[in-house]
């Protein structure tokens, strides 16, 4: 299924071309761009403050863990809540964020001991040593989870809310995990054998090679169409950088500078190094 050409390039009606060109060429004011850049900077600062405070809340949880198992669990949970609340709060303003994070810290420090006696009867159900939870690397708590789950999500679907980032596990995973219910506290995780990883990578390489070959032939549109279903077909996305690079080149060489810059920004901001990053910076005009 091939997309039609854009009307701007093919429309027979001059009026149609005139209107479409006028619409395409409209640009925002520099003032609007500056205001947004400032607003984003403020939101970033708010996010940093919130995350630092929630890290402090985690620290409170760790200290409490040394004294008792249950308070540590409560402290971690409170810190996680603060971390979840923080990004949403940042959009509302620094004051709100600080307020919520403050509540998170206070909840971790004060709420945990107060609630200890109430929760204690349930604590024996936890077979895992709580200290292990408390010293879990921070990276794996707020960041790794959405990233891992997003890899399994459909391609190019924008993520909206944290709850939407958690699709149900694949049917195969549920089937495979059904008999192993002896470890109910371990979250379901789909493990791949090295052989299956290798086979998947080989398939991915062949897929990407087709796009690269089309690009080398100068068939830019075909290259883009060949690469379009990449994210959907390969949720592991082991060659994502390469695909982004090929798309960037295809857009760049076909004269679509907007899309090329967009992809170049994606490559640069994701910390890619080497010649691909250099080329991306060149596209961005750095």
């Amino acid at each position: 299924m091939t997309d039609p050409e854009r009307l701007l390039r093919t429309a027979a009606s001059p009026l149609s071309r005139l209107l479409l060109r006028a619409g395409e060429e409209e640009k925002p004011s520099h003032a609007a761009l500056r205001r947004t850049a400032k607003a984003v900077a403020v939101a970033a600062v708010a996010g940093t403050a919130a995350k630092s405070a929630s890290a402090a809340a985690t620290a409170v949880g760790v200290k409490l863990a040394a004294k008792s198992a249950t308070p540590a669990l409560l402290g971690s949970a409170t810190a996680a809540t603060a971390a979840t609340t923080a990004p949403m709060g940042a959009a509302l303003g620094v004051g709100v964020v600080v307020k919520w994070v403050g509540i998170g810290v206070l909840s971790g420090a004060i709420g945990a001991p107060l609630l200890q006696s109430a929760v204690q009867p349930q604590s024996p159900k936890r077979s895992r040593p709580p200290a292990a939870l408390a010293v879990q690397p921070r990276e794996s708590i707020p960041r790794a989870r959405p990233a891992e789950e997003l890899r399994r999500a459909p391609a190019s679907v924008p993520s909206v809310a944290p709850e939407q980032l958690q699709p149900p596990p694949p049917v195969e995973a549920r089937r495979a995990l059904a008999p192993s219910s002896s470890a109910p506290e371990t979250p379901p995780k789909l493990e791949m054998t090295p052989a299956s990883k290798g086979a998947l990578l080989a398939t991915e390489v062949r897929f990407v090679d087709q796009g690269r070959a089309a690009l080398q032939r100068g068939a830019f549109q075909q290259a883009l169409e060949l690469l379009a279903p990449y994210e959907e077909r390969f949720p592991q996305r082991q060659l994502l950088t390469e695909v982004l690079f090929l798309r960037m080149e295809a857009f760049s060489r076909s004269g679509n500078d907007d899309r090329a810059r967009s992809l170049a920004a994606s490559i640069v901001t994701r910390g890619v190094a080497g010649p691909q990053a250099a080329r991306a910076r060149a596209v961005l005009g750095y």
């Binding site: 006028a22 609007a32 850049a37 984003v40 996010g47 391609a155 967009s262 920004a265 961005l284």
Partner: protein
């Protein structure tokens, strides 16, 4: 044990802030233009675009590499939906989706030389289109999203996106042809 975690977080946050600034530089114009073509007046488009990037900043960690543009478009579409909802109570839609301007209000051919008049006419045509067709039309024709990307963005099957695009183009052509006949446009662009 918590000290290393704090040290790990700080540079990452700095990089994220820098990355979002790069996103603003790379995408602000597109997002703003999308909002404009979807009917927001300039001032509202400024505000909505700012909201879009603020959301992107707060949720940067959850944006998939390569999906930044789709994420931003998704935010923009939601911002536009909110704007439309708030406006619905104030503005009555035009009956039967006809162009909301009398013959006397249409610009002359000479006037069309001015871009802002052309844009006003374009927006009048887009305003008169059914919303679901307008959205697909704008994403495809102005933002150069493929039908595949549009389908993912709107959460619809690709076949549906393709079908909507076909109908949107027919609808646009029909409305444009009406305008041309009323203008007496003879196919000459000054």
């Amino acid at each position: 044990m918590h000290e290393p975690a704090l040290r790990l977080v700080k540079p990452e946050q700095g990089a994220a802030a820098e990355a979002v600034q790069a996103l603003v530089r790379a995408h602000f114009e597109q997002i703003w233009r999308l909002l404009r073509r979807l009917g927001l007046p300039e001032a509202d488009a400024d505000d909505a675009a700012q909201q879009v990037f603020t959301v992107a900043c707060t949720r940067f960690a959850s944006i998939q590499p390569g999906s930044e543009r789709a994420f931003l478009y998704g935010c923009a579409l939601r911002a536009r939906a909110k704007w439309r909802e708030s406006r619905r109570q104030r503005v009555q839609p035009t009956a039967s989706g006809e162009l909301d301007c009398a013959d006397t209000e249409l610009p002359s051919v000479d006037d069309l030389v001015e871009r802002h008049r052309a844009r006003a006419l374009l927006d009048a045509i887009l305003d008169s289109m059914p919303d679901e067709l307008r959205t697909v039309f704008v994403l495809f024709e102005f933002e150069e999203q493929s039908s595949y990307e549009i389908a993912a963005l709107l959460g619809i099957p690709r076949g549906t996106a393709t079908s909507r695009l076909r109908r949107a183009r027919e609808d646009f052509a029909k409305r444009l042809s009406r305008v041309e006949s009323r203008l007496g446009f003879r196919g000459k662009v000054p």
